[in-house]
């Protein structure tokens, strides 16, 4: 075991897989010699060689086209898109190629690629360095979408993503790289070292895709969250004193429906929290599923706490960010008799 922040845990996952599997290659903008703008690939080129960890041209569509070709050859490419906001030029290669290859070829070809991309706000990145585009990908059949909330899960889930034979979009909440963030931006930054999930095995292990985690057991209400919002939800629960169960979804697709249904059937109340914009966001899908599966157990309307349906505004970041105060209010609303 070692104490790791999330960037170090992700680095350790890639280091572990590079050592285990000669077919794993890591590439992206600035990931080679420099080690990535968020330092997630630091030292990997020096350790594993420039033919396994290398820089690419600034061409996200080209990066993912390369990954599809390499995957079709039989490698396990791990491509970094420097910010989730930059992924759009690669949509054609993801949506119409990587996601469809196995299907359209009748199972003859597939591309087991992993796309890592930092997502979310909280670092004053403005509208092109703060987005959470996960729902664009959960809407595409053939892609898996993963968002970890802590170092232990980040490493275990990334290893599972790399080993998975389907294309996986792996979003890393950039505000969590260095510490858990509960949305109280006015308070000093907490390091991961004080958090139990920073205890990370140095070697190989995995956290399976498609399995949620009950982060806090409770009986009054269920909070469904992922990524940074898990920590925000915990803060809101703490501050309201409402005995809510907090579920970290970890994988959005395939979704762990059983854990969600079991919890909401137990509590009868549900608050869904995500940082992404609300309309057609993943919360809408969660809301529909909870309604379909738990209708007769629901005792209050389902609440959604999300980013506003606006671009992420730089100077008004904290007015945009769905912080603990907004989650607390939603919790109080679902608890009203």
């Amino acid at each position: 075991m070692a104490t790791m922040n999330m960037a170090q845990a992700l680095n350790s996952a890639m280091d572990t897989m590079l050592a285990r599997d000669p077919d794993v290659l890591i590439f992206g903008e600035d990931v080679g010699y420099f080690g990535g703008v968020f330092r997630c690939t630091t030292g990997l080129q020096q350790k594993h060689g420039a033919d396994r960890v290398f820089d690419t041209p600034v061409a996200e569509g080209g990066i993912l086209a390369m990954a599809v070709g390499m995957g079709a050859y039989g490698l396990r490419p791990v491509a970094e898109i420097q910010f989730a906001d930059y992924i759009y030029p690669a949509m054609d290669q993801l949506v119409s190629e990587a996601a469809r290859l196995r299907y359209r070829s009748g199972g003859e070809f597939w591309a087991p690629l992993t796309v890592r991309a930092p997502c979310g706000g909280g670092i004053f990145g403005g509208q092109t360095h703060s987005q959470s585009p996960e729902a664009l990908f959960t809407h595409v059949c053939g892609l898996k979408t993963v968002i970890p909330s802590n170092p232990y899960d980040a490493k275990g889930l990334l290893i599972s993503a790399i080993e998975d034979d389907d294309p996986v979009i792996f979003f890393e909440p950039k505000r969590l790289y260095n510490g858990p963030f509960d949305g109280h931006h006015e308070r000093p930054v907490q390091p991961w070292a004080k958090h139990p999930a920073s205890d990370v095995p140095e070697g190989y292990y995995n956290v399976p895709l498609g399995k949620a985690a009950v982060i806090r057991e409770g009986s009054a209400a269920t909070v469904l969250a992922y990524g940074t919002m898990v920590h925000v939800a915990l803060a809101a629960v703490e501050e309201t004193g409402i005995d809510a169960e907090v579920i970290d979804l970890r994988t959005l697709l395939p979704l762990d429906i059983d854990t969600i249904v079991e919890s909401v059937n137990k509590t009868g109340r549900c608050v869904i929290v995500h940082e992404a914009t609300r309309t057609s966001g993943f919360g809408a899908e969660l809301c529909a599923l909870v309604q379909e599966h738990c209708f007769f157990k629901l005792e209050a309307k389902i609440e959604r706490v999300t980013g506003w349906d606006t671009p992420y505004p730089l100077a008004f970041e904290w007015d945009y960010f769905p912080g603990p105060r907004r989650v607390a209010k939603a919790l109080q609303r679902v608890m009203e008799p």
Binding site: L25, D51, T56, P57, A59, G61, G62, A65, M66, A67, V68, G69, M70, G71, A72, Y73, G74, L75, P77, P89, D92, Q93, S96, E97, R100, L101, R102, Y103, R104, S105, G106, G107, E108, F109, W110, C141, G142, K144, D164, D165, D166, G210, L253, P254, L255, I257
Partner: protein
């Protein structure tokens, strides 16, 4: 004098330029833009030539067969007669296959078809210069690659008919073949995507110290896609063992090649700008196509990096069965195409060297026609889109993921078959 009221004296108003082809329906065909050098005139540089060394060839047109059917000049390949005879057979088989599938579409046995009439030397000629283990990333108009690799035409027809033997299980548009065994990558209906993927495959092959190279095709129209730029950039940066082919068949549905920028510079010229050696070849000249492909493949195998080839040809058929070219180009444009018919030109060469006779040609045409008839009968016995057996609709939920997740299992139950 107040500057704000000063009249512009010499500056003309700006003009907006939208290029137009020289001939539209009702006009006489006009290929005066296509400069035809005499066969044999283009020099053949060594395979370790730099991009800069090929700058003239990128604007030229490499031709081997002259008007008498004689193979001339430095690009004349050292090629066995039986390779040429196989090429002739495969081109003729491709053409008859296309004719039969077009007819099948008219009969309602499939919803859609795309011919490669007039362009057979591109796929068949290039396949003749490659190793069968090389990985192909084609467009939808290189069905000749599968035929040249002796892939089963029954299997191809089953895909076109979306029937019970269609290995794509009725999911793909007709002609979107895939054959892992023939090293033929699954076709996409998105234009250009395969061009950049081929570079990734080639990089993987180099990383694994393999011996196989990647070969890919794109149409003149789709060179305008970002994927062309991605492919060229990454092929140059990583010196990938890949042969990048632009099939300039003059038309992208109704847009002539000038709409893709083909009038300002040849497509091959772009290679030089990326630092990739580039050749422009008479795409209807089987021997020239074979020779340039061999040159490019040799470069790739020798770790000398990628090559861009522009194959100048003509799309004699409509874009697809959903297209009507009489609406946008002269009806007789195809018959006026200066580079002729690739099958007739190879036939003339074989007769010129005394390896072929008119009688043998007639017999071969009958033979391939019979081969196609027999294959079609077999393929139709497995069903067509119009009637007969197909895959179980429940199979539509398979292969979305390696293992079916719960939400697809639930939807499969909802389908209720």
């Amino acid at each position: 004098m107040n500057a704000g009221t000063k009249e512009p004296l010499l500056q003309p108003t700006l003009r907006f330029h939208v290029p137009e082809p020289k001939a539209r329906p009702g006009h006489a065909p006009d290929f005066s833009n296509l400069v035809l050098p005499v066969a044999g005139a283009a020099p053949r540089p060594p395979v370790n030539a730099s991009a800069y060394d090929t700058r003239d060839l990128a604007g030229d047109l490499i031709r081997v067969l002259n008007d008498d059917g004689e193979a001339v000049g430095p690009w004349r390949p050292d090629i066995a007669v039986d390779v040429l005879l196989r090429g002739l057979r495969h081109m003729m088989l491709t053409r008859v296959f296309d004719e039969r599938m077009l007819l099948s579409q008219r009969q309602g046995k499939t919803s859609f078809y795309m011919q490669c009439t007039g362009e057979e030397a591109v796929a068949v000629g290039q396949a003749s210069a490659l190793d069968s283990a090389d990985m192909l990333f084609p467009t939808y108009r290189q069905q000749g690659l599968l035929i040249a690799r002796d892939w089963s035409i029954v299997d191809m027809m089953c895909q076109v008919f979306s029937n019970s033997h269609d290995r794509m299980k009725g999911r793909q548009l007709p002609v979107m073949y895939s054959s892992r065994d023939a090293n033929f990558f699954s076709l996409s209906g998105n234009l250009g995507t395969q061009f950049s993927q081929a570079v990734g495959w080639a990089m993987a092959s180099a990383y694994k110290r393999d011996r196989r190279i990647a070969v890919t095709w794109i149409g003149d129209g789709a060179t305008a896609e970002g994927d062309f730029h991605y492919a060229m950039t990454s092929a140059a940066v990583y010196q990938a063992p890949v042969v990048l082919n632009v099939v300039n068949n003059q038309w992208a549905i109704s847009s002539y090649q000038g709409i893709a920028g083909g009038e300002e510079a040849t497509f091959a010229t772009r290679g030089v700008g990326y630092g990739i050696p580039a050749l422009r070849v008479d795409g209807n000249d089987f021997l020239a196509v074979h020779a340039v492909t061999r040159w490019a493949a040799e470069r790739a195998r020798a770790n000398l990096g990628p090559t861009l080839i522009e194959l100048v040809t003509y799309r004699a058929a409509p874009h697809s069965t959903s297209d009507d070219p009489s609406k946008y180009r002269p009806a007789d444009e195809s018959s006026c195409w200066p580079l002729g018919d690739p099958i007739e030109r190879l036939k003339k060469h074989l007769m010129h060297i005394g390896a072929w006779t008119e009688g043998e040609h007639t017999a071969l045409r009958e033979e391939v026609a019979e081969q196609v008839r027999t294959a079609a009968k077999e393929a139709e016995s497995y069903g067509t889109l119009g009637q007969g057996p197909k895959h179980d609709p429940a199979t539509m939920f398979e292969d979305v993921f390696r293992e079916m997740p719960w939400h697809l299992r639930q939807q499969l139950e909802e389908l209720g078959t």
